[in-house]
Point group: C2
Chain length 723, copies 2
């Protein structure tokens, strides 16, 4: 982790935050605005008790002598020694003076509940708070923040309800929404997902989401980061962190609001956040192996699967169930998630045919045809376990999806049965440990894991995916994550940073085509030949050299839309035609006020081919982003475009081209022209390099069309805009 | 309901089944193969007790005197009077003789568990069973069937586990999978969905799924039919039933396996069923208002919403929550489901601004900004109830999605709190009853409704949608269903049946274009003019009459692909060209062995326009099905096609055209030719009528292209195949 990034500052009042691990593990806490009756003031004490906090608690309230049996002090200034953290539960207009008090006794960490800052438009008040925090050297979580829970360390500074019986584990949750915290904890309990920290971000005046993610990546107790996000304020920093997480083997699962235009509108109104373009967000998260989910259930269940540490080494799934109907549903859902259900090997088929009832159909997914009611194993295993083991030895599958747990009741069974179940779960644990590939237990439907089941699952470290619907989605995320991680370990560093800027012009605004062509040339982008001429005579000479038919175009930075003003003439066959056209085009150029005409470009006219579009724009959050597609109706009307945040490899550009709906047209569908996709991808890769050479000055960089015909690829036109 | 359809028979051994309501409500039951130890034999008795059966139970077992304290008889022949139903739990090879015994004492109804019939390929054995049932006059559910549960009537004939505490209600479940029955009952309990009947279909040797649906439509205790289906054997009968259900106000919710090619493969292997083309299934179900779901959770939650009787009169949703994060998620999911979130009216905005804390943002979806912790109402209502009421009076919304129930704990609270909650729920009930529009309670996430919450929900007839994810999907289904129902009540009968067949040719196989054109002409389909000629001279005369340029084509039923043999000449500008082309084309026709050449067709050549495709094919399950699309890459490569089972209205055909991905091309995107969509739809409607006039003889009926240019629409070519 670079110290540079750690101390990165992009906001007034931001200051180094080197101590987040201390921030989230305080051993002494003062509560200002402590109360036995207010919602927040009351919950904080109950929660400290519930999370098992055994450090010092100091209630601060000038009007009370004790609160819940603890001695009160009137103000923070009355502290004899500083506490590790102050929880500020007082009204908005008192927050500043509480921070003054805190600073005066050396307190460095504060959680601030009060709302009424940036989120309601009171940006001045929030800026004052940031400045005060900076000048006092106080790290703040909030304002407008209910706080955090650190289940692993047995401490909380949190003013909402914490459900009872929270399980400790290695999933840490980061929320850009306080009100979702309780339901997320309940869902974690429902699905047996153990949590390490749960951190609500509030307005992020000082500590922001990226700071917390950076901390969690370095936190040895955290294996999975589950997020609810409304925005990525600094998308590129988030992507860098996500790459770090991927290399560190920590999964990030994100429920990002604003998938749809409606959702974006809601997110905007809620926090005043500027949501990035959602298609870019989608592409960016996929590039760095972040699992994007769409529901709270999927968030927790996916996080739980990652936390179980299961290694899904590929997409080939073997599924074992006791229900033909479940087989059908599994097959449909697997197909949705890009998972494969290969035929079992001959050995597996034989072993299964020997073991299963004769009316069973041996196939994948496999219905075990009630084998549990017809066979006995003589051990703690049930017959379905034997079936799962057979399938786990099949070389055709990468992992086994195992729906064999219907036998675990949710309510405590009688003693003998309880012992039988406990013995079986111990057997299952041993089976999971000794299996050559992952065996993933999943239940038929998304239901609460009852107390008895929870107990024997926990005792045997078994994570049960909550139902086929969310379970197979989670499996899909996990397979894609392992693929991304493998790729990241191979390509470590290659995609991590952009090449240094090497601008060839200091121009602001649009460039002339001639200037832009020079940059493309330097960067090795294949270009249609062109000559810049200043007279009709020179135009004809150029045409003779280049060969008829030719195209001529006016060349001036100020004339971006050349056709609109009559600045283009196509398909000129003779010297006379070139002469006429030159005069016409040059005159059109002279007619444009303020245009600084450099001359007229003469190029050979290319025959019909496939016209690609390759453009790089500057996303406000994620930076330079490549869009590729086919021109015409495909981009304009059908929005058929593939996106990646830069930099991106040539291989990945091929993948982008092949993912277009219009991709059959690249392969010469219906006898049309064909594209050499590798060559086109190589050209686009150079286009991205050329665009990155402009550094932060880049605004837009568009090749339209990139003409392709068989093995020929050429940029026919280019538009560059810098600031 | 037509008696005709009721007695419809399409399978060997099928016979009238007029008594399904008696079948599923027996007052006396014999169990053959009764046992205290076998899985099935044991469960049947436990279940009869659990469902509260108080009729006569007769165990049949030659080896035992009593079973669970009930006197055994050796065989059914020892019965003194017939029972209403016999549950056959004996092995496969004994089933036939048990039926003989049953018939001998006058038993008319049987459930057969045993597997090893059609589902394993033993079709002869199943046919023998069907014949025996027919000759004995016994109605059979099964074989390969665990039976049914009738919770409403307090009776079961069911050999698997029934969860405790099942709630009685008006959802009936029909399953083409026995193994999913238990999990469906558990899910119903989890989400507080009351069931009337749950019926497993088994192999459908005698009673089939359509019979059961027909019975449930007439069953006064059933309001909603929830199905798991692997196939629709007689798709047209199912559609007729679905239309009946729609008019009767009963919703059908279907989880149909085989959405994807993988899923179809699994379904095929599981039951040997022939799955219909999935795109046709999708289109067909949508046409008749059937809600197609993709998960077990969605099945139960959607059924529960329908069962609650809530009327969602349109797609405009007002959402009330206590969480900004939830607002974001709701907005995204609403957009997925085609729901709208209109701005609140000025009156609503003012009322909300007055009532909510000043830091709340008044918008839709609405975050009530913790109003519950900051205000008191002085009544049993909580402040969020007041907010929901304000929104329910807004004329801009059709219904309110209400996330106001976080306060209901799952575990029983102390007495005072319990009373407070109970009082509040009574208030909520009154609010729902008096609201001018539907208020739909939904929880944040899909979790089990605990015993206390269940009790007060049931007492107040409150159905809580299980989480935003499935809840908003269910709301989408419900809105679409109400729309379909409104349309069905207006158009009752119009779409219910096809016009009578009026074939103009008794030809088998492909028709000649000339013959096919006659049918189109009779049906009023606009056609490009054409003259059938037998000589070059006549061809020129025709061309002069029609106007140059012309097209000439060989005309013979046996030559379907005219271009492939050189049987077409395009764009002929002169008499000489026509002469030459005639000889060439006629010669090509003479060269085709067995072709019965009728002559050569001369037509005017049409300029470039938009070329539509309109084809009717015979789906094996649903019958004549219309496909429309654009020709070329759109149909062939991108599968951009819209489908409807016939008949279909002209308006609906317009909807089909506008739903194509390529639809911008119909509106002249990028300066291309424009289509008069109403005229094109009218022509396609006549094409469907022409195809239906062929009745069951229709195999394929394809107009390709249907040429469109501004207000001109003409069929340029036609292919008809009959059998």
């Amino acid at each position: 982790m670079s110290t540079q990034a750690f101390f990165q500052s992009d906001s007034v009042g931001r200051h180094p935050k080197p101590s987040l691990s201390h921030f989230f593990s305080p051993r002494s806490i003062a509560v200002v605005g402590a109360s036995e009756t207010s919602y927040w003031g009351r919950n904080i004490f109950r929660n400290l008790k519930a999370t098992g906090f055994d450090g010092r608690i100091v209630p601060v309230n000038p009007k009370r002598a004790t609160i819940f049996g603890l001695s009160c002090i009137p103000t923070l200034r009355d502290l004899k020694e500083p506490v590790d953290l102050v929880y500020v539960a007082t009204p908005t207009d008192t927050v500043a003076s509480v921070l003054d008090d805190a600073a005066s006794v050396g307190i460095r960490h504060a959680v601030i509940i009060a709302a009424g800052f940036g989120e309601t438009g009171a940006h001045d008040r929030q800026r004052e708070l940031e400045e005060k925090a900076a000048s006092h050297g106080i790290t703040i979580l909030g304002p407008n923040c209910p706080g955090f829970v650190n289940i692993a360390a047995g401490v909380s500074a949190y003013g909402q309800e914490i459900p009872s019986d929270m399980k400790s584990g290695n999933v840490s949750v980061v929320l850009q929404s306080g009100a979702l915290a309780t339901v997320i904890m309940k869902l974690a309990r429902t699905h047996g997902v153990g949590l390490s920290k749960l951190i609500c971000m509030g307005n992020e005046a000082v500590v922001d989401t990226a700071d917390v993610i950076e901390y969690l990546i370095s936190d040895s107790e955290t294996r999975v980061i589950a997020m609810f996000a409304e925005q990525f304020r600094d998308g590129r920093r988030f992507l860098d962190l996500a790459r770090q997480a991927l290399r560190a083997g920590k999964a990030i699962v994100v429920l990002k609001a604003g998938r749809t235009p409606e959702g974006q509108k809601a997110a905007l109104a809620h926090t005043g956040a500027v949501a990035g373009d959602e298609a870019v967000v989608d592409a960016a998260l996929r590039q760095v192996g972040v699992a994007r989910v769409r529901s709270l259930e999927e968030l927790l269940i996916t996080a739980g699967l990652f936390a179980s540490g299961v290694h899904l080494k590929g997409p080939r799934m073997g599924a074992v169930t006791a229900s033909g109907g479940a087989c059908d549903i599994i097959a449909d859902r697997a197909s949705d998630e890009g998972l494969e259900l290969p035929a079992f090997s001959a050995d597996t088929r034989k072993a299964l045919a020997d073991y299963l009832p004769n009316f069973a159909t041996v196939q994948n997914p496999l219905d075990t045809a009630a084998v549990d009611t017809l066979r006995e194993t003589g051990t703690a295993a049930v017959p379905m376990d034997v079936v799962a083991e057979i399938v786990s030895r099949d070389p055709n599958v990468d992992f086994v999806l195992f729906l064999g747990f219907n036998v675990v009741p949710q309510t405590p069974p009688e003693e003998l049965e309880a012992q039988r179940q406990a013995d079986r779960m111990a057997h299952v644990r041993a089976m999971l440990d000794s299996s050559p590939i992952a065996i993933v237990p999943v239940s038929l439907s998304c239901m609460e894991v009852g107390p008895f089941a929870r107990e024997i699952y926990e005792a045997n470290r078994i994570f049960m995916l909550g139902g086929i619907e969310f379970g197979i989605t989670a499996v899909g995320h996990c397979v894609r994550w392992h693929k991304a991680r493998d790729a990241a370990l191979v390509h470590a560093g290659i995609e991590a940073s952009a090449p240094p800027a090497a601008a060839t012009s200091t121009r602001k605004g649009p460039w002339s085509e001639h200037t832009a062509r020079k940059l493309l040339e330097t960067s090795g982008v294949p270009l249609v030949p062109a000559e810049l001429v200043m007279s009709a005579q020179d135009a004809v000479a150029a045409a003779e050299r280049l060969g008829y038919p030719v195209v001529i175009k006016i060349c001036a930075a100020e004339i971006a839309h050349k056709s609109d003003i009559g600045g283009v003439a196509l398909n000129l066959q003779t010297a006379d035609a070139v002469c006429d056209a030159y005069e016409r085009v040059a005159k059109a150029g002279r007619g444009v006020d303020g245009a600084n005409v450099e001359g007229v470009l003469v190029s050979p006219m290319r025959p019909r081919g496939v016209e690609l579009f390759a453009g790089v724009t500057m996303d406000p959050s994620f930076g330079p982003t490549l869009a590729v597609g086919l021109g015409g109706i495909w981009i304009e009307t059908l929005k058929d475009v593939s996106l990646r945040v830069l930099p991106v490899s040539q291989d990945e550009i091929e993948t982008m081209l092949l993912s277009l709906r219009a991709s059959p047209l690249l392969n010469g569908a219906r006898g049309g022209p064909k594209v050499d996709i590798a060559k086109a991808a190589a050209a686009i890769h150079r286009i991205t390099e050329a665009s990155l050479s402009l550094g932060d000055r880049l605004l837009a960089f568009e090749i339209n069309p990139l003409w392709c015909l068989e093995d020929k690829v050429e940029a026919l036109d280019v538009l560059i805009v810098t600031e």
